[in-house]
Symmetry: C2
Subunit: 378 residues, 2 copies
């Protein structure tokens, strides 16, 4: 293999595929990045066997020459060293050449690295996915849907299925749901597709987080293909594979209350900041539990108290409070996480009593909801 490649493009591709490389893998070859040169260009691959990422650099793009392939071939280079090296190379182009015995020379200006490569034949093959039933979504919407749900997955391995986000596709609508059994996040959106297949799969939260880091905030289309045990996200020059979690995701629909006894409409920023301050004096070991009470004249009070330190009372003027008076306690952390996913200036919080889960939603937008279970202190 011998090729000449634009350094900046190489650095970007290496950075993308590094998201899948784990230093803690038990499979030695997966500590490496596979570099393959063909007549089409260069592809880099990284994998930790849960996630695999392939990034392509074409020979030419928009009239610019990105890579010149002098000899086709492939090699695997230690990811940690290779990524550090390419970032620091002195000139705009880089020569990569595999010599005898997998010895690989990386040359840039007056800098010459000589790395021991690994045999690319031993690198695992990426899943072969038939591209039937493709559905399509823009990168920015996909990133938004991930951000609005993935924070609510469970971090505990006691119920592994809850460490993933449940993706359901039915009637050209994608619904993403995550819950750790103390809170739930749900987001829906229309998708483009030519098929009418239904899906119900669970994608590991970690995979979605890594995917979100790689995607641009553009409205470029992302093609998504779901198989029995894999999902593939296809962007321009990028393939992102993730395994799916095995098992059945719990039916969450009956968790979501359909009626409410107290509805509060409040400015999201004022509410968030008041809770953030109240959380300062809430004990860490109870997930920063704060108390929330409604009063006359659309007043809300948020308070917390740590006997050794002191207490705090925050007043917030609500837009409206309808229904029964309420005193309820909840995790300030969960509330802050939920509020940060919501856009707009006002939100509606709908309670069905101090012991029941409550809903947080934007006004006039039912594509997203956040649900939180209260803490029993009153």
């Amino acid at each position: 293999m011998k090729l000449i490649i634009q350094r900046d493009r190489l650095v970007q591709s290496v950075q993308d595929v590094m998201k899948a490389v784990s230093s803690r893998t038990t499979i030695p070859i997966l500590t490496g990045i596979k570099i393959a040169a063909t007549e089409k260009g260069v592809t880099l691959t990284g994998s930790d066997s849960d996630i695999s990422i392939e990034s392509s650099i074409p020979k030419e793009e928009d009239g610019d020459e990105l890579a010149e392939i002098i000899e086709s071939g492939a090699i695997v280079l230690q990811a940690r060293f290779f990524s550090e090296i390419v970032k620091k190379l002195p000139t705009d182009t880089v020569v990569i050449e595999v010599q005898n015995h997998l010895q690989t020379v990386i040359r840039s200006g007056k800098s010459e690295f000589n790395l021991h490569g690994l045999d690319a034949e031993e690198y695992p093959h990426l899943p072969q996915i038939k591209e039937e039933n493709v559905f399509r979504i823009s990168a920015d919407l996909l990133k938004m849907m991930i951000r609005q749900t993935v924070f609510a997955v469970s971090t505990s391995e006691t119920r592994p299925i809850l460490t993933g986000v449940n993706w359901k596709i039915e009637d050209r609508e994608l619904t993403c749901i995550a819950t750790d059994s103390h809170r739930l996040a749900l987001r829906k959106a229309q998708i483009e597709t030519e098929s009418n297949e239904s899906y119900n799969v669970v994608i590991p939260g970690k995979s979605l987080n890594e995917l979100s880091k790689i995607l641009d905030d553009s409205n470029d289309p992302i093609d998504i293909v779901i198989t029995e045990n894999q999902v593939l996200f296809k962007a321009k020059h990028l393939l992102f594979f993730s395994r799916l979690l095995e098992g059945n995701y719990p039916d969450t629909s009956r968790l979501i209350p359909t009626d409410s006894k107290t509805d509060v409409v409040v400015n999201i920023k004022e509410f968030l900041q008041a809770i953030d301050r109240a959380a300062l004096l809430a004990r860490d070991d109870r997930n920063n539990v704060v108390k929330f009470s409604t009063f006359e004249n659309q007043l809300i009070e948020i308070s917390s108290n740590t006997p050794e330190i002191g207490k705090v009372i925050e007043e917030v003027q609500a837009q409206s409070i309808d229904g029964e008076d309420l005193k309820i306690s909840f995790s300030a952390k969960y509330m802050i996480d939920a509020l940060k996913t919501l856009d707009g200036t006002e939100i509606k919080v709908s309670f069905t009593g101090a012991m029941r889960p409550f809903l947080i939603r934007p006004i006039n937008d039912d594509s997203i909801l956040q649900l939180i279970l209260p803490v029993r202190t009153y």
Copy 2:
């Protein structure tokens, strides 16, 4: 005590005095910040008994009212909580009021905190320092001198005196020296003073690092007073006290070679980047040792080699190489640290053989020198 104070000014002062507050102190009251209100204004104090910082907020400055003192007095509040609270308060002004039993109310807009205070009478008094023999230096020069020397102090407690920077004042010249016995940094500057006293003291590296973080990059004058066991730095509205290290600093003057056998003049940026790359394949456990060799035609080669991974060779075109040919090995980390303290485009490296310490200096500037001991590999 009752006062009304500008929040932003309070936040800045709290941030400054927090630099001296340690959460690991064994003296409970030092986990707090002392707040004192007098007819002049408000002073905040933080201390870990090695460093003490006092920040003042006058009642008025440049015609702006910064603080209104309604009742004089003092209180000590838990630093960690108080600093988090003031940062997040909603309005531009803050009321702080001590009520019965040291209960302290902090009020801002519709936010009300109630903290248990500690008795300010129990807070240790700051050192009383007679302001004789003041010398003066601008804040930016002081920060520069700290930055150019403090990185070279020892991090090991086996010789505690080497964890400090040796400050010597003689004939209106300040010399700062730091060494960890593998390298040495020296910086000199003229200072303003009305006395002709000589000093030879050792200031803890940690104190100088914290001082450097607080000082602005301005040419405001800093007054410095040295006593037997303390040093005081006085800026506008700020007092910074540090204890001095006890013991005699080693005489470093005989370490510094006065002659040289090989002199290399090289572009600092090219040299730094080549060493940075060569260090990528140098073993971590040997402080990233790289090899340096001179060749004909003003060529320098920097190389390193880790048998399991690979090797790297960097060529740098020097401005000039005078004297004997040389092969020498040194720590890339020490060289990078030293080069980063030097300004200008070219530096001169003066060697006296592969086994002797060598010097790195800017061209035509003898106010600073960096010395590194080589590693014996050739």
